[in-house]
Symmetry: C2
Subunit: 816 residues, 2 copies
């Protein structure tokens, strides 16, 4: 029954989301101009979504065909993976749709609310964020759990058989995660290119050439610019975390299955023997309800509140959620896991692990998630030392500003990576790779809350823009500015959270990959593996460069279009001619989706080439699996570094520039906007923009998608860790060992030409059960003859089959 | 006798160097002002060297004490490593001394020669480069070979015993390499900080504040600036390649020893059974003579020659050298190696390898060295597509120029890394890690030639500066400009060569490390190893940031000093007061050496912490060795990426700026120096300066030194791959096997309390000799009793000892 708990939680979360959504939608959307601007942004966002969906549809069809082909050629991959993939893509896109719609509807309502009071404005903007967060988290948990239940029923008849069957369930489920992460590629990378192309295009022609202010409705690209905020920061971040959420839980389930394997192939618990597999889903489910509680706590009372109070309100919600997750992890871990478990530690053999150690691992995840956010805040926060240094360096020109910003981003990798290495070490020491995956799961449990905090930023930003464009009372803008300023901080910490989650997720996927392929590990002392480690390390660097170049190209197209409209539309500058906003939105949309093809191809192409080209040349599958593992490690290590570097450098430049708004002290002189130093800081920000909004955040997707593709390829390479032909003698000698307790055979007959028998032999060794699994396959007659031979040798055997007449169970007096 | 061949070659090279040097010195050094400026530069360079030596002396003492302590505590490390270390440092410093002196003497002679003709100017500047190149290469080969001969005599009595003794010889020899690479840290990192601090300091106050031209003798920092060129480009590059050269040959020797081990512990050849170990030294020796021949071919005849002809002359010399190295590799490989060898390939067991395949591996090294230089030239060359793109992007401001430059550097990692991965793969496939190390050795064989080509650039640059300052006829400057322009291209390709050599060297060291420690490989699926891979990946990024920040800090000190002199020295601006050049040189020297401490500490500290902190906590040595290996791999992969990225981005920005000198076409308009686009390009170059001259080149040292420290720590961790206590039963059963041919015992008695017996058991299995080695240690009585027991079991035994009475040899009829 526990299996339905996450679904129930997800549904509760979704219901709350719908209630909240209708509450937000019922709020006053303001009058004339406000509404008009908001509608344009809404339509622009929809236009992007529609274009994205068209492209997505093509992409999904192509990948589906490829997956289908694979599943028909490779016996260990089931065609249901295609369905899972399609639904993963659909759920992620749907979550993005909800998020974008609510964000673009909430902005104007926030503006309107800010006309009355700040607490109201916060309530509405954060309400919009909550809808977004719960939509993403609810759909992620709902989809993943639903498909798990379906596949558990299809492949295992909803009851535990053996770890090999469960592996097939989880391998098929990986399709769901792959679908979700593919959408994230489009949303995060495409969105990142979109938002910066529109931004740069609008500024270059509007502000610089035509001399009209920012957000001026006469600028045809201004709507695209505002849409971009939603496309990049709302939809992109949402898809990113949706992908992380699903992948983390999946990886933890895979590793949970291996815990069961290490414990002898089956455990006896109150959860149908799949407690360790259900646990990550249960944590995710609990996290949704906790996030709902957390969001309810975010409120301020005083209309005179400042940034500190708003930040405080968010912190109350956030820390409460994290605390509640810790408590629920304790409860769930002690409830759902056996009190002591056996886990295989590399090179140290089986070790006894108490369930409390799994709980400690989840604590590691929670602490690291919080600390990495703090580190990000330190390196990118207004008024912090690194920012003040960049500000000082701006006085000697753009060159020194850039060097200082680059150095800040680079230095920031120090504490982040050390902390991260410590997290890997500690969570592994506590509970092996299952511990690493659960650390990630615990961290991700508050995803809904994190997203609510994240999404409220761009909503407030947009609200401020609408207030400015519709010429509201300055108090309105003042109030939205308070929210926006807090939103900037949460945006930076949110990026830290996204990186940390992506990194831990990738590690968990990496571990799942190794277990799926059945390799002994990834030995970088083998030259081909080392070569692939280098290649993997290079990919994030080249990916980042491509993303940066893409922004440049897309921005240029936007520049040409805006120039054309200024030239061709009569009366546009006088406000009598209406600019064709949709054309600019179209350009930004098309260009961003086109320009993300090359980096996307790089991401998807490399693992496929590494896996299949050597295969064509007849290389050993295990050797290929190890090479691909080396590649994945290279991408992950280098990707994490470049993500931290680019995000923090970009964030630091941004806030160094913003520091000039309130004035800064340089060489004993107060310096403001418009000074030479400020101009240098603006140049730094120009460099930082693609860093922090395009290439930096894309790294998350790159590393996760790489590891997921590896995971989907894994069964093709590994065939469940049994590629070598085992001889009957070997199986028989295993069956006839003194310590062998029982033999379980799963005899699947597909046709006369193809039958498979999975033989699980449980041995009792040194006080613990150990399961060896063997696969026999061939024509029906061959396999049947072999199974008959096994029956003769075993003292206790159970044969289960899709042909009832083959089933058998007997047990004789145990020999001695 | 072959063992003396490399020494002979090195001496021949050094003699040729002395002849060439006295020829250069005999050339006319010009008159009054020329000579005065040149003397200032010479003195400044000497001042840096002296300061560096003082600091070095302290450093060498500290490290020597540490090494001595280690050698007394750890039985497997011999105290002679201290001597080797000191001499390694001394030889490297001496080579740097020769290079700096000749470079600062040649510059003015080149100016003087340029007054008569271009061919003469080339002859002299390249002559200076040749002296530098031969000094470095000659001393490297001489020192390394000499110490090998000494240690071979000390530990093995100059005759083959077993691979374990040879391992001790090579472990001790690693001290020489460590010494050399430590100097490289000072020279390359310190030099890089020096040159940019002086450059920026001179420009900021002189050009910007005081409005006097570049290289104006009134500027107190101008001499420091010119000294910087020599310190960074001549001494830094020289020390870098000296270190690579020594480390490469050493690593190849270590792996050669393991080839012998794989072949049964001894081979029968015309080189005392150490052909595979001598081969890398022989290639290095041949390379010196080949380089001498190559340098002789560099000449032009026509006084009207342009860049193309000069470049052509260099190319003739360079390509001839590379061709001759290929031929000599063929000759030496076929002569010195057994026709077929056995090598242990990871996971594939022993394989038979023909010596031709070793030759193919050397070809891989030569081709890759050449190709990586070409790639570097493509991404940084004037008139090439990437540069033109940066030039175009300069028209929209510094921001877009910076983005384009960063993207170029990042994209350039694609082909370099793929090529590099291919090189690892191919050379390993041909001949295992011995092949990788020999690929590096072949590439490095032309080091003298490469350095000659490299050093001639800054000499010509200085010559042009002297011509300008001493107001020569414009034709003189025109001629030196031709040389300088070619020098810029060779500087870029030289950096490519330095990275490629550092990377291959590190890999060879990495392989040597694994064999020294005796671990099975480095499995990144173990969480602590993976954590260290992350930490290792982070270090080059933080190192680069520290180096960049160091330039900023040192430059600021210079700025204050120049301002002080302008303020305090009467008549300085009128040319009546003499600026205190030495003060600026002192500042730059002190600041650079001080600022390199932190990055240096990072480089040295991390491997030591990783090795010894877990040891204190009682972690298993093999596990630590694997972690340290993961760290080394992380540093190497990330370091190579950041080296390529920073060098190429910096080179590209530099040449994008230079493109404006001849004028460039932007948006259909010719644009020159002084335009807004040019200003943007200058900003890009400001960012690129520390990239290409400080942090980028430092990566070479970082990765090599990291791997070398690992190699020196290796015996402490590994104890020659025999850490587990072997029981006597195990040794006895090995001795009494039917296939055992002979037993060799090396019985070393240090005192009554400490004796060691190394037992080598040669077995004849499947048609080949296989040697197992065991170590017995304890008090004399214990060990003696065990050896006596072994004598009883063996049918053929030879005992050698430092106590004559213990020696014994007998052989009975072989049982069967």
């Amino acid at each position: 029954m526990m299996i339905y708990m996450p679904i129930a939680m997800a549904l509760l979360g979704l219901i709350y989301m719908i209630v909240k959504k209708s509450w937000v939608m019922k709020q006053d959307a303001g009058d004339g101009k406000m509404k008009e601007i908001s509608d344009h942004i809404y339509e622009g966002a929809l236009a992007f979504l529609n274009a994205e969906y068209r492209l997505l549809a093509i992409f999904v069809v192509i990948v589906s065909v490829a997956l289908a082909a694979v599943s028909f050629i490779v016996p260990t991959t089931h065609w249901l993976i295609v369905i899972a993939f399609i639904f993963g893509a659909f759920f992620s896109a749907f979550a993005g749709n909800i998020g974008m719609k609510i964000a673009t509807k909430t902005n104007v309502r926030t503006t309107q609310a800010a006309r009355t009071s700040l607490p109201n404005a916060l309530k509405i903007s954060f309400g919009g964020g909550t809808v977004m967060g719960l939509g993403v988290a609810g759909l992620a948990v709902l989809g993943l759990t639903l498909f798990f239940i379906i596949f558990f029923w299809v492949f295992m008849d909803s009851a535990w058989t053996n770890t090999m069957d469960m592996t097939i369930v989880l391998e098929t489920l990986a399709g769901f995660s792959l679908g979700a992460e593919s959408i994230a590629l489009f949303a995060r990378v495409g969105g990142g290119i979109y938002t910066k192309a529109a931004d740069v295009g609008a500024d270059l022609v509007g502000k610089v050439e035509a001399g009209i202010p920012e957000d001026d409705p006469r600028n045809p690209a201004t709507i695209a610019d505002n849409v971009g905020d939603n496309v990049g920061d709302v939809a992109g971040m949402g898809a990113d975390l949706f992908g992380s959420y699903v992948a983390t839980v999946l990886a933890a389930m895979v590793l949970g299955n291996y815990v069961i394997k290490d414990m002898g192939g089956m455990i006896d618990d109150a959860f149908g023997g799949i407690g360790p597999i259900l646990l990550p889903m249960a944590i995710a489910g609990a996290g949704i309800i906790i996030s709902v509680i957390g969001t309810m706590l975010v409120k301020i009372k005083s209309n005179d509140a400042k940034e500190a109070q708003v930040m405080g309100a968010l912190n109350v919600g956030n820390w409460t959620s994290i605390g509640l997750v810790a408590i629920s992890c304790f409860a769930l871990v002690t409830w759902m896991l056996p009190e002591t478990m056996k886990m295989n530690f590399f090179g140290e053999g089986l070790q006894e692990i108490s369930s409390m150690r799994v709980f400690y691992a989840t604590l590691v995840g929670l602490v690291v998630g919080a600390l990495i956010s703090s580190i990000t805040e330190y390196y990118t926060g207004l008024g912090k030392k690194p920012i003040l240094k960049i500000v000082q360096q701006s006085s000697t020109g753009a060159g020194t500003n850039i060097i200082a910003g680059l150095a800040t981003g680079m230095i920031s990798t120090f504490s982040s990576v050390l902390l991260f290495a410590l997290a890997i070490w500690a969570s592994y020491a506590f509970a092996g790779f299952y511990g690493v995956a659960l650390a990630a799961s615990a961290m991700m449990a508050t995803t809904a809350m994190q997203l609510a905090i994240d999404a409220f930023g761009p909503i407030s930003d947009n609200a401020g823009g609408i207030a400015e464009m519709s010429e509201q009372d300055p108090i309105v803008r003042e109030r939205t500015d308070i929210l926006d300023s807090v939103g900037n901080t949460t945006a930076a910490t949110g990026k830290g959270f996204a990186i940390a989650s992506a990194a831990l997720t990738s590690l968990a996927l990496f571990a799942a990959y190794v277990t799926f392929t059945g390799i002994d590990g990834i030995n970088i002392f083998k030259a081909p593996v080392l070569a692939m480690l280098f290649v993997g390390g290079m990919v994030p660097v080249v990916f980042s460069a491509l993303a940066m170049n893409a922004v440049g190209k897309a921005a240029m197209q936007m520049v040409h279009e805006v120039r054309r409209q200024f030239r061709d539309i009569p009366g546009i500058m006088e406000g009598t001619g209406k600019p064709q906003y949709d054309k600019c939105v179209e350009i930004s949309t098309q260009a961003s989706l086109k320009e993300m093809m090359l980096p996307g191809l790089l991401t998807i192409g490399f693992p496929i080439i590494i896996a299949f080209v050597p295969m064509i040349f007849g290389m050993n599958n295990m050797a290929i699996a190890e090479m691909l593992g080396g590649y994945m490690a290279g991408v992950t290590v280098s990707g994490v570094l470049w993500a931290i570097f680019q995000n923090n450098a970009g964030g630091a430049w941004d806030n160094a520039k913003k520091s000039f708004e309130a004035g800064v002290m340089i060489n004993g002189e107060m310096t403001y906007k418009g000074s030479e130093a400020h101009k240098a800081a603006v140049t730094g920000d120009t460099v930082g923009d693609p860093f922090k909004d395009t290439s930096g955040p894309s790294m998350n997707i790159l590393i996760k998608l790489t590891c997921l593709i590896g995971l989907v390829i894994a069964p093709i390479l590994g065939g469940h860790a049994i590629t070598e032909e085992v001889s009957m003698t070997e199986i028989e000698s295993s069956i006839m060992k003194e310590d062998t307790k029982k033999v379980y055979v799963e005899f699947e007959v597909e046709s006369d030409d193809l039958a498979t028998a999975v033989v699980s032999v449980t041995e009792f060794q040194n006080g613990e059960n150990k399961v060896e699994e063997y696969v026999i396959s061939g024509t029906f007659n061959e396999v049947n003859a072999k199974v008959e031979r096994l029956k003769k040798g075993a003292s206790s055997i159970k044969v289960k089959s899709n042909r009832a007449e083959l089933e058998e169970e007997f047990s004789v007096e145990v020999r001695k």
